[in-house]
Each structure stands twice: as C-alpha cells, then as structure tokens.
Symmetry: C2
Subunit: 250 residues, 2 copies
C-alpha cells in the first residue's frame, strides 16, 4: 500500500478558510487525501477556502470534522504534532527530515497523523501530549512562525519524497541520445577547421583554444542533436569563409 | 559570509499580490532578504500582499523591480529556474535537494538567484534559457502545479537546511538529566512493591509484568524528573494500600 494513503493531516481549530484551502492544494500536490479538522472556527470563510484550494476543491469537500484531537487521531498509531515553541514535551522533538521516516514506516501498515495547531497559538500542551512525536520545522531567528499551509508543505514534501514521490519524477532524458566520443571528435575537428578558415585564430594558438572549447562542451551532456547543430553551424561558417576566399582570389 | 544573504528570489510577472506577500513571509522564515520582481502585473493587489506578508512587510517594501529577467540576474553566477513542465532545457533539471548544494556553494562567494515563473504559465523557454540550472519540484501526478509561495517554500527550505539553518535549531535537551541505572532500578523496585501491595498482580506474575514495564519505560529517555514523578506515584499507591490493609486488620 502507498503509505501516503494512510496519512491524515489534522488541523486543530483553524481560523482562516484561506489557509484550509491552501492546505488542500498542498495535500493534492503531495499525494495525500485525508484531511481532518478539529473544532474548526464557526465563522470560517469557506468561499476563500474554495478559492485557495484551486483544483483541490474535491479534497476540501471531503474533509472530516472532529470535536477533539483525540477523536481525530483515535485510529492512528504515529501521531506527529508540529511546534515552533520549546517547553515541556520538547525532548522528543525532531526536524521534519528526522520524523518523516517514522511516519512513513508506520503508514505502510497503519493510519498515521500529522497535527498542526492554530495559526496564532499552535498546539496546546494537552494536545502535544496526545502526540507520539513532535516536529520542529527549522526557521530563521528573524521570524520563527510559518504560515499554516507552508508548515504543511514542508512536512508533506518530506513525506512525499520519502514515499518515492521524487524518484518517479526524475525528468526524462533528452529524446536524443548522448553523443559518443567519435561524434564529439568529429565536432572538434570541424570546429578547429572553422576557427582557422574564418581567421578566428592562428594555427599556433589553435591547440590552446580547442582545449578551452572541449572544456566548455564537456560541462554538460552533449546529445547527438546538439552535435548536429554545432556541426551545421561550423560547416556553414566554413562555407562562408571558403566563398570569401574564392572571391578574394578572383 | 552567510550564503543566504547572497541569494535573490526572483518572481517573473507575478499576478497576485497575495502570493507576493506569502513569498515575503517564506523568505523571512528562511533567512533570505533579497526579493526581485520582474515586470510585475500592473494591477497587483498590494493591500493583499501586505496582509499575507504578515510580519515581513519590511521585506515586501524593500523589493526591487526589473523589466527583464536578464537585468534581475545580471550580477548572479548560478541562476536556478523552476519548472513543472518538461520540454527543451529539461536535460539539466534536478530535484530541489540536488540543486540546492550548487546554489549554496556559489552563494558563499557570489550572488545566486532562484527564479519562479508566472502562476499560470511558469517560465517561458527564453527565460529558462537564461538559467544555468532548472529545478523540478516533485509533486503528485494528480496535481503537478504548486502554488507560487509553496514552490518558494520548498526551495528555500532546502537552502536554509543546507546553510545550517536546521542545525542551530535542534531542540535543547530536557533540563533534567537522564536517569542513571541505579535510579531506574529503584523505580522498578518501588513499582514492583506497589503492584503487589495494591493487589494489581500476584507474586508469580510479577516478573513477567515487570519485564513489560521495563520495556515500556525504556522506549524513550527517562529523566530524573520523570523517575521522581513515577516514584512518587508508586509510593502514594503503596501508602494507600498500606492504609487499607491497616483498616482491614482492625
């Protein structure tokens, strides 16, 4: 089973609809679908929530509501709460990257929850006491407190990567295969000729120039298509140089 | 020099003030202060931007505006653009965690830029061509496109961690030192006595029960304060059990 399907995101007493909507978008981006709200504020701006959910409205509609955190996580084994503050319970706190493996391992077989507190006051101590783990999201001393959806983004990003989310997303290789050595050498030969024939450099400086050029073209992969373009370009310059020479000779 | 001070976040043609504000909050959370806007939409909602910047209004006010991406990154060595799409230029794309070291290494000595495109269309090919690196933020097939401030969050979080942001944030150890073996054994003795005296279990099952209890208390660190609490609790129960026995004997 995909562990992400066993992960529940729990927002305790959220105040702003926009934040709930933004969280829905994050969850859909990160392949998580289970959203629970605990005692949501009764004057939530649901229109704003739908606006920010943008393409994740279905996930927003499907959220569950609980009156207490205990009820929201009753069926979960690992319950990881987030906290920017230090204080009691902080002795088992860890960075998102440290806690993510615990959550993913557990979510392979059981429900697991990530719990986020109020926008202004976070989770209360009695709520942190319900959590088996505490996540501290690292942030600058200049400004510790993250926006709710940004905190959810960081934690879910770590879970998504660990669940293999990044691995299937390695950008595909260029459709054109990488150029082999022979093709590359043909390129350098043609460029050498071009540099001499156009008068770009003199014979005695060519070796030095070509070393530089080789270094430039070796920094990234060079595909067969790339080489064809570079070859064509050099051939064209050689033709121009040749034409000029013929006319000068007339 | 702190490499984060050399990092510039460039937003190309952003449409929504709220997103710009949310990005400012992210930057301040992640210790980055240099924000550049390229050709920002002329009907931007700046009131919304200030609202979302929340405590990062100063950073919002200090942003620089450029007419082209080339001008915005003219003094930068590494220029990393973000793209959800595949297409030309994608052959040098990498995950945020792969590109972050390149950016941080460069930012130790030079200006480096992270470039984010329009909310709807991202960066155009001619803009990606200006970038030395391309970042693909991994996301679910269900919904690839991240909100602008969430994309900035993920990238800046990786930079912040790499620049050592997480390391100074390890939550401090409990002030109470971890309990030594002797103290732990005193705890188990007292609990054994308590379990017998309160009639919780019989002599022949005590060994088995205590093994279970030892396992429970060994899962996490046990501080001296923890032990004092657990000891006090057991002593109280023993006193209650003793009192009861005395009264029954009368």
């Amino acid at each position: 089973m995909n562990p992400l399907e066993n992960i529940r995101i729990v927002l305790v007493d959220p105040k702003y609809g926009g934040n709930i909507g933004a969280v829905c978008r994050v969850l859909m981006n990160m392949g998580i679908t289970d959203l629970a709200l605990v005692a949501p504020h009764n004057k939530l701006d649901w229109a704003e929530a739908r606006k920010l959910a943008y393409h994740a409205e279905g996930l927003l509609e499907a959220h569950n509501v609980f009156q207490t955190l205990e009820e929201a996580v009753a069926d979960c084994t690992v319950v990881a709460g987030t906290s920017a503050r230090t204080g009691m319970y902080r002795d088992h706190a860890g960075l998102p990257r440290e806690i993510a493996p615990v959550v993913i391992d557990s979510a392979a077989h059981h429900k697991a929850a990530l719990v986020f507190g109020r926008e202004d006051k976070g989770l209360f101590n009695e709520e942190l006491a319900v959590c088996t783990h505490i996540i501290n999201i690292p942030s600058s001393e200049l400004y510790r407190s993250l926006n709710l959806s940004h905190a959810v983004m960081v934690c879910c990003y770590e879970l998504f990567l660990l669940a293999g989310g990044g691995s299937d997303y390695k950008p595909p290789e260029e459709r054109s295969p990488e150029a082999g050595s022979a093709m590359r050498e043909r390129l350098f030969e043609t460029w050498s000729a071009m540099m001499l024939e156009t008068g770009f450099c003199e014979e005695e400086k060519l070796g030095h120039m070509m070393l530089g050029l080789r270094r430039i073209f070796s920094r990234g992969k060079l595909t067969e298509n790339d080489v064809r373009i570079l070859l064509g370009l050099a051939k064209q310059s050689r033709w121009v140089a040749g034409e000029l020479k013929r006319r000068q000779a007339k």
